[in-house]
Symmetry: C2
Subunit: 325 residues, 2 copies
């Protein structure tokens, strides 16, 4: 991990799309991703890591192009047979996808860490960039809603994000530690940028920020931290970000996202459609088209984030000498 | 279980074929099967019950017609994806078949018995006859070979029955108990026949006979016990029966099978090709074509076994009055 130049904090599909762009733009072994595991859960006796798998499938070129989860080359015979014997089918597990869950579960039970299992899966998928779970310790996102407190996947998949969200909690985050690999990525002497991916700040990024050691690493890093907006023209590209912001009585604006991250971030990548808001930011802003449909889009956003970080890096290096300036 | 008239002791494919015939011939709710679970094992963290599943798939009309295991309508995408991430693939689990293992494992972990889970699967497959595990307690068949002591599936699937067998053991059998359902089947006032299916006596039937309570139930039942030959003209229809008999220095003959069961059986269904041996049996023999390729074949063998039992039943009823006769 000593040659990591860019470390990405990522949730699911939005994060994976940015990752794909960075993976295209940067030398692969200079990129690492620290991925949310707050959505992880046990289902049918299997350990599911949705955001990790989305990152794996995306970088392996196996991700479904529009679905937002799972593989493009999937079949559903397991699910159909499971339904026939009365099993739970609200969480869809494809025949090929299932292999990851079965093998991960087996290895975790045998004592391997999620970090080690994920590293091996990535290697077998031919992915050169380390995809790191945010922690090997269990963290479970809980969603406080008008229908009571819900486990994340109950809220997100089973109830399709319908219940109104009042608050979120990340059980175990206070005791979770970074893995050695994640620590090494933060300690890389080459580290030039930490990029917060355009994932849902409340659902997907906050679980990472709730880990004290991770938050502390972000506060003490010399690398600039830039966030890529998950909000474009008052809307989220995918998922319930805007809905949740409304329910939390937060204006659906990239300014709210920047405010949410507060002094953690040194720069912000804003969508072109929101360019007029740029002057309202009190941190440097880079403006680009942030909607990532094609790989080229992802590369463009990756470059914008890296360019912004590079511009801030100079400032950061300068502040090394002038800590009060 | 109070209306069970025929109880079958069964292993895998040979037993399932006879079951299918009995299921066709008898009113479904008068038939019960007590199935070997000595082959059961945990694989990839999943609880696999090969003989139970063969019985389920066969009676549900889902069994592969020639393969001897699994479903006819199977796909293998899970297996291919598992191989891609380095998982163990020597034991083939189809996408649809996998549903049974995942759901069974989940329910067993949740505290259900194998008997209860199997009953529910059978119900969902529309099978009216009870398919009963020989026990809900763990019994593991061990194979002592010239390559050392092997777990059953290591011998049977991974090593394809190549190692020479010296002896067999059934770990846990001495402590295993019948389930209430199995006990009730033995206690059925309607019970007219117990049929030992043409499964491998050493690998598939002996695990049942190694359970003291089961053996005792067989010894004390008033129903006649008849065995259907797994040997036809000096050969086994399928699997390693003849090979194992050779390795155990037992002549590959239906007479050896009858001798193996000893005084447990009251009658023997012999193949037409072995008809000349009939006079060498010291118990009543019924001769028929025992090769079961079609459902009609299975029905014929089922009828032969039932007819033989019926003829013995009279004798048994008579011995009720003349215990010493």
């Amino acid at each position: 991990m000593s040659n990591i130049r860019v470390l990405v904090l990522s949730g699911g599909v939005g994060g994976a799309k940015l990752l794909r762009g960075l993976y295209r733009v940067l030398p692969a072994n200079t990129l690492a991703a620290l991925v949310n595991t707050g959505d992880d859960f046990e289902h049918l006796g299997l350990r599911i890591s949705p955001d990790i798998d989305t990152a794996l499938y995306t970088l392996a070129g196996l991700a479904h192009p529009t679905q937002g989860w799972g593989r493009y080359d999937e079949t559903w015979n397991f699910m159909a047979a499971l339904e026939a014997v009365g099993g739970e089918t609200w969480f869809r597990l494809g025949d090929r996808d299932l292999a990851l869950h079965v093998e991960r579960t087996r290895r975790l039970r045998a004592g391997e860490t999620l970090t080690a299992v994920t590293r091996d899966f990535a290697r077998r998928f031919g992915i050169a960039a380390p995809i790191l779970p945010m922690s090997d310790d269990p963290v479970a996102t809980r969603v406080m809603t008008d229908e009571g407190e819900l486990a994340f996947q109950d809220y997100f998949v089973r109830l399709r994000c319908v219940p109104a969200v009042h608050d979120l909690g990340f059980v175990g985050a206070d005791k979770a530690r970074l893995s050695d690999a994640a620590r090494a990525a933060f300690a890389s002497p080459e580290l030039e940028a930490i990029i917060i991916a355009p994932s849902n700040p409340w659902l997907s990024i906050d679980p990472l920020l709730a880990i004290p050691e991770l938050r502390s690493a972000l506060h003490s890093t010399k690398a600039p931290i830039v966030a890529v907006t998950p909000i474009i023209a008052g809307k989220a590209v995918k998922g319930p970000t805007a809905k949740i912001m409304n329910e939390l009585e937060i204006e659906v604006s990239p300014l709210s996202v920047a405010a949410h991250y507060g002094d953690l971030v040194d720069g912000f990548v804003l969508d072109s459609s929101d360019a007029p808001l740029a002057e309202q930011f009190n941190i440097p802003v880079e403006v680009t088209d942030t909607l990532m449909t094609s790989v080229e889009d992802s590369g463009r956003v990756a470059c914008a984030a890296c360019a912004l970080a590079a511009s801030l890096s100079v400032r950061d290096r300068w502040t090394d000498y002038c800590p009060d300036g």
